[in-house]
Amino acid sequence: MFKKVLIANRGEIAVRIIRACRELGLETVAVFSEADRNALHVRYADEAYLLGPAPSRESYLRADKILDVAKKTGADAIHPGYGFLAEREDFAAKCHDLGITFIGPKPSSIAAMGDKAEARATVIKAGVPVVPGTEDVGNMTDDDLLRIAPQIGFPLLIKATAGGGGKGMREVRSLEEMPTLLQSARREAESAFGDGNVYLEKLVEGARHIEFQIIADSHGNVIHLGERECSIQRRHQKLVEEAPSPFLDDELREKMGNVAVKAAQAVDYINAGTIEFLVDKDRNFYFLEMNTRLQVEHPVTEMVTGIDIVAEQLRIARGRQLSYTQEQVKFNGHAIECRVNAEDPFNNFIPSTGRITHSILPTGPGVRVDTGVYPGFEITPYYDPMIAKLIVWGETRAQAILRMRRALEEYRIVGVRTNIPFHQTLMDSHRFMGGQFDTRFVEERFSMESASEMDEAQAEIAAILATLVAHKETERSAQIVRRNERDTSNWKWVGRWERMHR
């Protein structure tokens, strides 16, 4: 059984994993890029080693260097977090070869689910429904894809074969626009995963994105921890997740949960994983893909089940049986997570970089914040813009929304722009409150402006605030000018004196 865990990741998830290790008495080894010397995961870990320059390709994606650190430090397990090397079959296999426990599924499961086309074929065999699309394909050319597209029908999605997180994904409305979109999807996939392969899938309209958390041990036990509703997305990036989904009833939950377990079993799955489904408005559900790793949004499941998923991952990897049977998993209350991104919601969600100069976290009952940043830390353009996850729990969905509203209002981050105002607007929206949304909601039926139909009273306060700040500024600069005048005059004397005596 391993004793020292290397965390091959950065940011909030590296911190999250260090916490779980520490609470289980496991030693931790952090790795970091030059941009992350002062990152929280480096500060919190027992050991920390530099990998290389800031770009991921030269640091967090350098499997060879990470394995060298593991060997040097005697780390006998590696937790990959999410992203970076988390779903790289070859990396998992190399760990295995070196006798290092990879905290995740077997390389063969990663491979089976990592290639989206193969994954579809595998689960179809196990009787799991899938979205219509390109079947059993490896490297399809643009010509192949353009030929098959009309058979699938528009609208459709181009998706990266090695994909995840919406990267390399494009929506196609017609054959005409498809060549351009193919090109940009491949480019993005290539840059994100080092693999430009793509495939096609029918776009299910009015669909919800609902996923099931799976945990499985090496003794053949597989259970699910219920679903997460992840339909609040923008450009295929999840922004808000909640558990349970306001759309499911117990019957559908059990049915989908069973299918999810079946899908995991189809690839001999071990450890934590997620089965993503699309659910259309008639409650038909389709397997979308399996994420063979810990998910960003795992905390909402932790809040409603009381189960520490990362601790459970570590136990499973140590060869233990699951701590729970399916019957022992109880769901209590409602949890919501808002992803706090360094991006400007008032300016097309453009990423924002800079040093965080000040921060106040929302705290109190039912509030959890998972973050890797702190005042003084610099947000660089090299990595994902997600800087924190704000998670709340309430006895009911309504209470959770109210709690999220007060937590968002309390949250202060100064130094970079964040999408907190987006979340505030969302939590105020009647459609969100009513649970009436699908994956297109944010892009098609939501706007930062619509919500802010000019509140007269607030506008007046804004006017007073700006005036007071401007007034203060004017007064201060007047003082500085006065002081500078004096200084300058002194320096002028020196200048004259020097000229006189030259």
Binding site: N348, P351, E460, A463, T467, A470, K472
Partner: protein, 165 residues
């Protein structure tokens, strides 16, 4: 000191009477105004009501982030206002527009060329940053004057990428 403050076309006449009072229109309000922790975060108690806001200056004037909304505010003192009025209604609109990189990043593509006419909302530059491809769009109709960056180039924040006429 008297100011004319404008939000979304609406003008507010605001007088900073002293440290504890402002007059807006003909209402005299009590203010207790503090910056918090030396940050551009301001706590304002206005006639007993407590408000907190992030206020900073941008190219477009003052930005006030208040209750999850962002207000673009123009503040002019009376003298400035008079000068602008005398100049005949302010600066002409539609001058040259400089598209600046909103963050450091890698230019992926520039799908327009010099001399090309572009529409408001048309993509001018695709910039990769934070692992995302970001489309920088035209804020108005116009003609691309000079392109000052090229695909594959790393650019700094605020670097001018192209000019629009």
């Amino acid at each position: 000191m008297r100011y004319v403050t404008t939000i979304d076309g609406k003008e507010y006449e605001i007088e900073v009477v002293d440290d504890r009072h402002v007059r807006i229109g003909d209402r005299l309000l009590t203010v207790d105004f503090e910056s918090v922790s030396g940050q551009p975060v301001f706590s304002l108690i206005l006639d007993g009501k407590s408000h907190e806001s992030f206020v900073y200056q941008s190219d477009e004037g003052w930005q006030v982030l208040l209750y999850g909304r962002q207000f673009q505010v123009k503040v002019e003192d009376e003298r400035e206002k008079r000068l602008r009025a005398a100049a005949g209604g302010g600066v002409a609109e539609g001058g040259e527009f400089h598209l600046k990189a909103p963050m450091p990043g890698l230019v992926v593509a520039i799908p327009v060329s010099e001399g090309q006419e572009v529409k408001k909302g048309q993509v001018l530059v695709i910039l990769e940053s934070m692992k995302m491809q970001n489309e920088l769009k035209s804020p108005r109709d116009g003609v691309v004057a000079h392109i000052k960056a090229k695909a594959g180039e790393s650019v700094e924040q605020k670097q001018i990428l192209l000019n629009l006429q």
